[in-house]
């Protein structure tokens, strides 16, 4: 077990930011912590890293209790925090070299690692530039390079793609997967469901300081009662007709909203034509049809009654 958190409780005055949260992260996982803003993701990370005081709980990394003076544990950790943490007075190369040098003593090894880190995040062409000369995306990549250049075994990414252009975002996500395939265990926090779904092997959904659901993507979606959603354009349909649709055996729910019919279908082999024939038999007109699979947003909605981005 690389990370073990037991009953973590953290309060800011009268506000409970982390509410008896427990989780375990195995070696080689990309563990996602997904939750809306203010749900306690960053607070949990900062407690794991022993940056924040907490009221109670136990935190172990690599089998040992984590504390500020646990230097051997810190040697194995890399962190890419939400705020960019680089020196404005140093160039791209100098920033990575400085932070790498705080972990790696051998000069030649450090030099190779710095070059590798720059190649990894694709900022070699900007090595002599200063941070204020970089775009937001490049700055984030520099931030990542500074956090991972020393090849840590556990890497924590705290919302690393905030304010980043799509190309840089893809680089970052692909890079994280490469790091994982090289042997690093990753903790990735985000409020972007798509990113977590794309790269994480196991996900903890967090709300109000507690984990409300935990498992792989499939395990989480299996917690839902439906496994497909149809969205049918329709100019007019009555409440009685919606009620009739709801009575179809494999229909979980049906509603009409803003010119569209939303039909959630259960875990059975779905025959879309069956639905369409049903509508045709009853002379219910329809236009375009879309089919969606459940998302983590649906999981969050099930457990909290609100969407991730509300």
């Amino acid at each position: 077990m690389v990370v073990k958190v037991e009953n973590l409780l953290k309060k800011y005055k009268n506000v409970t930011a982390v509410n008896n949260l427990s989780l375990e992260i195995k070696e080689g996982e990309i563990f996602g912590i997904l939750g809306p803003n203010g749900s306690g993701k960053t607070t949990t990370i900062n407690c794991i890293l022993s940056l924040l005081k907490y009221e109670s709980g136990n935190i172990e990394l690599f089998g040992e209790k984590m504390k500020p003076e646990a230097y051997e544990i810190k040697r194995k950790i890399g962190a890419v925090m939400q705020e960019v943490a680089v020196f404005d007075e140093l160039t791209v190369y100098e920033n990575i070299d400085y932070f790498c040098g705080l972990y790696i003593k051998n000069i030649n090894e450090k030099k190779d690692l710095v070059e590798e880190a720059m190649e990894f995040v694709k900022i070699k062409d900007y090595r002599k530039r200063y941070p204020k000369e970089l775009s937001g995306g490049l700055l984030r990549r520099l931030n990542i390079a500074c956090g991972i250049s020393h090849k840590p075994k556990l890497i924590i990414f705290d919302e690393p793609t905030v304010g980043v252009d799509p190309q840089s975002r893809n680089y970052i996500l692909e890079g994280i997967q490469k790091l994982n395939s090289s042997g690093a265990t990753i903790i990735y926090t985000s409020h972007y469901m798509e990113e977590v779904e794309q790269i994480c092997t196991r996900i903890g959904i967090v709300d109000k300081g507690s984990i409300i659901a935990l498992g792989s993507k499939e395990e989480l979606k299996n917690k839902l009662e439906f496994n497909k959603r149809l969205i049918i354009e329709n100019s007019k349909v009555s409440e009685e007709e919606i009620a009739e649709i709801q009575k179809i055996p494999f229909v979980i729910s049906a509603k009409y909203d803003n010119g569209k019919i939303f039909i959630s279908l259960s875990k059975s082999d779905i025959n879309v034509l069956t639905i369409l024939e049903y509508l045709k038999d009853r002379n219910i007109e329809f236009g375009s049809i879309q089919s969606e699979v459940p998302t983590l947003n649906d999981v969050f909605l099930k457990f909290t009654g609100k969407k991730l981005r509300d």
């Binding site: 800011y12 940056l51 005081k53 962190a79 925090m81 960019v84 943490a85 140093l90």
Partner: protein, 377 residues
């Protein structure tokens, strides 16, 4: 690791244009401006000389006491360049002519009584009168003592003052008061090192900066990193002060470098004190950086005002402890004592006080920031 951190800390500080301007260029600019203002003013203090004559008439020759009194003052003037009364014994005609020609400030003659003849009323004339009043008072005192107890004044002549010896505070004749301005600039420059100290803490604390958060995760002892930061800041600050001293001494032609070793010692210890003060404020005052900068500016500003104004004297008499810990005053007075006095007692005291404050601030800083977990970031 040590050289690695030293190298990059040095580069970071040298490239920080804002700090370099305030610590480096601002005192130089002020010094140039002061120099332009003061260049046409002779700041070398010259003690006022009061020239008067005593008429050599019968009354003078018969008044032995007054004669001895005048001779003692003449002797004092010949032996001490800082004595202000230059008395000559002349005839009445010569005295009148010299007064008419404004070559003397007045003359004294004894007829039935002591008379002072002047042409105008001014400071010099008032000083002559004060001298004569002193003679009259002492003479009257002597008369009283002699009438009651003649033996009390055996071998003592109060008028010639031969039982009191003047010991000058300094053998040097340094009296250039503009030096105070330049030394106070140097003292202010030393105290600007507080901002280096504040920067050290800001970049090491997770609740003050994102770099501080990253630094909280590195596998190095905080004491080592803080010590390296302190050392690099101190070295750069010494370089800045050295440049400023040399600039003022060579380009502005202000005598600031004697004795050179002790001047550098004072500024070195003063700079260390300032850096530790800035670190102390950064570590202990848990507010945003703007508030901390305001506090440092207030300490420097208030300290400077107290140092150069009369509040300093009030503070020294009513609250001597506070006067002792004014950082600007400690540096300023230490430097001034090198210029005005021959002994180093004041300097030694101030160096000890500055060293003690450095140790105190550094210790509190370290105890506050070591092994810290934050309540919030």
């Amino acid at each position: 690791m040590l050289l690695h951190v030293l190298k990059y800390k040095f580069i970071c500080l040298i490239r920080d244009k804002a700090i370099i301007f305030w610590a480096f260029m601002f005192p130089v600019i002020l010094a140039v401006l002061f120099h332009i203002v003061l260049i046409n003013i002779n700041p070398q203090e010259e003690f006022m000389k009061v020239e008067f004559s005593v008429v050599d008439n019968d009354g003078y020759r018969q008044d032995i006491r007054f004669k001895n009194y005048v001779n003692s003052i003449i002797e004092s003037y010949e032996n001490n360049s800082q004595s202000i009364y230059n008395i000559s014994i002349r005839s009445l005609e010569e005295s009148e002519q010299l007064l008419e020609d404004n070559k003397i400030d007045g003359y004294v003659k004894i007829e039935d009584e002591l008379k002072l003849i002047v042409k105008r009323s001014g400071t010099e004339q008032s000083l002559i009168k004060a001298l004569l009043d002193e003679y009259i008072q002492i003479n009257s005192t002597m008369e009283t003592i002699l009438s009651n107890n003649p033996s009390a004044l055996e071998n003592i002549d109060l008028l010639t003052n031969n039982f009191i010896e003047d010991v000058p505070l300094s053998e040097s004749d340094n009296t250039d008061f503009s030096i105070m301005i330049y030394y106070s600039l140097i003292a202010m420059s030393c105290l600007y090192a507080s901002f280096w100290g504040l920067r050290i803490i800001t970049l090491s604390q997770a609740d003050l900066s994102s770099i501080g958060a990253r630094m909280g995760l590195i596998p190095q002892k905080k004491l080592h990193i803080l010590a390296i930061d302190f050392f690099v800041s101190w070295i750069i600050q010494l370089g800045i002060i050295t440049f400023q001293l040399i600039f003022m001494s060579t380009v502005l032609n202000v005598e600031l470098l004697k004795p050179i070793g002790l001047v550098f010692l004072t500024t070195a210890v003063g700079s260390a004190m300032a850096i530790s003060l800035g670190s102390f404020i950064g570590a202990v005052i848990k507010k945003d950086e703007d508030t901390q900068v305001t506090i440092i500016n207030s300490v420097i500003g208030i300290g400077y005002v107290i140092t150069v104004s009369q509040i300093n004297e009030i503070l020294e008499s009513k609250l001597p402890f506070l006067a002792c810990i004014n950082p600007i005053k400690l540096v300023n007075d230490g430097l001034l004592s090198l210029y005005y006095f021959d002994n180093y007692a004041i300097l030694a005291r101030n160096v000890v006080l500055m060293s003690s404050l450095t140790f105190f601030f550094s210790a509190i800083t370290y105890l506050t920031v070591r092994r810290v977990k934050y309540a919030s970031i």
